[in-house]
């Protein structure tokens, strides 16, 4: 951290010098600025912007689906890979398949101590991002984030298909043994969207109730959908009652 602050002051100093040298004309100053070798480090912002421009939609000031697909290809990561969710979380992206300029640049800047200002650096960061899923608290934050991110703008609830897809992704990581039963149950019995509360409560369920359901409390204020799921498991003989 001390180094950072030092650098900052350095940059200021250099900038001042350049301006002085350029007789306080900005354009001139900029040329001088960029030509000087010490200033290489200050070019993150510009590189980030370049990176952004590489993927943004030609007509709009955002990166949309195509751009993201390209980014994933360049990163050698499948665009349905869960690591993209983690990245979106860092970006605080409002919705999937879209990154605003602020989200993209802000997100990359937040990706850890080593500045990510190039594709290679980003690619190198990917294992770290994956590892964050193993952290209990971070996983929870990412999980909660995923609901708002995956749903349609302006909708209160998450479409069932999308929810199932997200759950499969997330709980493959977390290794919840009942994930397949859960998805099957939803497809058989529940044809409606998923509410925010149900989404959040499912994680609690996965974390606190053991996969044999031995400590499931019917009076436990679980959302009705989860009670129904437990009923479904008993009815289909997957577990015995009592």
């Amino acid at each position: 951290m001390g180094v950072e602050i030092g650098k900052q002051n350095e940059d200021e100093k250099v900038a001042q010098q350049a301006l002085k040298a350029g007789d306080w004309h900005l354009e001139g100053a900029l040329d001088i600025y960029y030509s000087q070798p010490q200033i290489k480090t200050l070019t993150d912002a510009r590189y980030l912007e370049e990176l952004y421009n590489r993927y943004r939609d030609p007509n709009l000031d955002t990166i949309n689906a195509d751009g993201i697909t390209n980014l994933c290809n360049d990163l050698q990561v499948d665009h349905e890979d869960i690591v993209m969710l983690v990245m979106s979380w860092h970006m605080k992206a409002a919705t999937m398949c879209e990154y605003s300029k602020q989200e993209f640049i802000g997100g990359l800047q937040a990706l850890g101590q080593v500045r990510v200002d190039s594709l290679e650096k980003l690619r190198e960061r990917i294992p770290y991002l994956r590892s964050e899923l193993k952290d209990e608290q971070k996983f929870r934050d990412i999980y909660i984030f995923a609901f708002g991110w995956a749903k349609e703008k302006g909708q209160k609830s998450l479409a069932l298909d999308t929810a199932i897809g997200m759950w499969q992704l997330l709980f493959a990581e977390k290794q919840w043994p009942l994930i397949d039963h859960w998805c099957q149950f939803l497809q058989d019995r529940h044809n409606k969207a998923i509410s925010r509360d149900t989404w959040a409560q499912l994680l609690e369920f996965v974390r606190t109730v053991d996969p044999q359901l031995s400590n499931y409390d019917a009076e436990g204020a679980w959302p009705y959908l989860i009670d129904e799921f437990v009923e479904y498991l008993y009815e289909n003989g997957i577990f015995q009652r009592g």
Binding site: S195, D197, T198, A200, Q201, E204, G220, A221, P223, Y224
Partner: protein, 675 residues
Amino acid sequence: MVLHKYGEKLYSGLVATMTAHLKEISKSIESAQGGSFLEELNRKWAEHNKALQMIRDILMYMDRTFVPSTHKTPVYELGLNLWRDNVIHCSNIQTRLLNTLLELIQKERTGEVINRGLMRNIIKMLMDLSASVYQEDFEKPFLEVSATFYRVESQEFIECCDCGDYLKKAERRLNEEIERVSHYLDLRSEFKITKVVEREMIANHMPRLVHMDNSGLVNMLLDDKYEDLGRMYNLFRRVDNGLSTIRDVMTSHIRETGKQLVTDPERVKDPVEFVQRLLDEKDKYDKIISLAFNNDKTFQNALNSSFEFFINLNPRSPEFISLFVDDKLRKGLKGVSEEDVEVVLDKVMMLFRYLQEKDVFEKYYKQHLAKRLLSGKTVSDDAERSLIVKLKTECGYQFTSKLEGMFTDMKTSQDTIQGFYASHGAELGDGPTLVVQVLTTGSWPTQPSVPCNLPAELSLLCEKFRSYYLGTHTGRRLSWQTNMGTADIKATFSKGQKHELNVSTFQMCVLMLFNNADKLSYREIEQATEIPALELKRCLQSLACVKGKNVLRKEPMSKDIGENDVFLFNDKFTSKFYKVKIGTVVAQKESEPEKQETRQRVEEDRKPQIEAAIVRIMKSRKVLDHNNIIAEVTKQLQSRFLPNPVEIKKRIESLIEREFLERDSADRKLYRYLA
């Protein structure tokens, strides 16, 4: 002597003399034979008493001076003690006395007459000697012997008597003992001896008595044996758990029979019978509790809770009770006095109170009331209003405001129609007479309005009415409810006989077509009237397929209405009566699909009520956990229905979704109100 300081000598002399004398007496008593033993004892005791009194008088000075100062026993008391020690406790007398007394009591218990006066004197002697003499030398053994006696006797009785007889015998024995005490024992023994009898004859045999085959409690209840039941009540209340034993057996019996009553498929066929049986059952037990159980409140409560239990076992109870009321208000109460009407209505209210799903009753009651009002078939307006007042008192203004709205509409409509004819009377003179009831939507049970094509002369008339009404009530909308109307039409048949037919509006539309055609196919009728298929079939069925009401003939003559059938006017129709009723607007037990539909509507209506309750509770408590919300909501709504905890949970989730509530972040069972 005392004065001369010879007190000691006098006293001890007294003791010695008396002792010696008493020993003599004792011998003489011992030697008394058989029956005269007690008499001898009694006589000697009387003499001794007299003597003691005299001695006391003579030695009064000593008694007052020497005795207290030397703490010696006063003379009289001394005399008693000496009697006790030398006579009563004399080894040859003590046991013999006790045995004699007990033998006499035993004799009396087996029916012999004994000398009660003698007994009284002897017992009194013991009491006078001291309480402990009475207790040790008589009472304790007496109680033990009595216990054994009654143990044996009760065992004998229970083997050979039925319950009623046994209880009679037990009661008799109890009364005997009480009488015995009053005649010759210490009054304080009454409590103790009755306890013995109660324990041996009643407490020890309670279960066996109550459950005795063919004569036990249940049989007594079934056969209305008021006297036996009363006796059982009075005897059992003396022992611990006596009354609760009776009450528990009665309760489970009532619950069992009640359950069978409401789930018996035979009974359920006739709703009015069903409800009558419930009322009869209630009357029966009210009478038993009043005549035999002393109007005991705990029994009344047990009866009420039992009724509440089994009435709600049948989900159709609310519907049936409404149908019962409907039957009474339509015809059952015809010609009945005002007080008797009140009695019936109060009984109905009593059953109503037992219902858990009062909102279901409300729905049916409204439907049935609407039919009664619209068909003009109510026996007494006063009776109708009286019931509404009772419902209002029980459930509050909200319950009945809509019902009252219905009555208001009826009255207003009368005025409206009068006004209509007053202003249009001249031009309408010869045409059909129109009676319109204008129903305020919202007060009446909702029915989808099914328009149909009215015959020309009628549609003209209806239009005139519509413009009249809207002329005085701008901004309103009228829609004809042709599925709820009735018509009286005159028909002439082949032999010239005329009949007045009372039919539904739909049926009227169909029949009027036959003024212009003798024969019409189903499709032609359907096209001309535009009555929807289901209704049309029902309507044609009652016109053509019901014996005694078949003003139409159908080809083919099958039972059901087929879409290729052809209908003809049946000019061979006959009936004993001038007026023939063919309408189908009477309230009946709902068919299965109708029942489902009503049930569905009731469930839908409950959802907002549950939500409102949740919001009210959370607004005032701010934070509350899941189980407590369920309990509070249930309590708030219990006067209308019993909410399903699962439904409450769903409503909570819906409120979370709509951001009225949120879950606490630390404790997932806690909910918070969001302002």
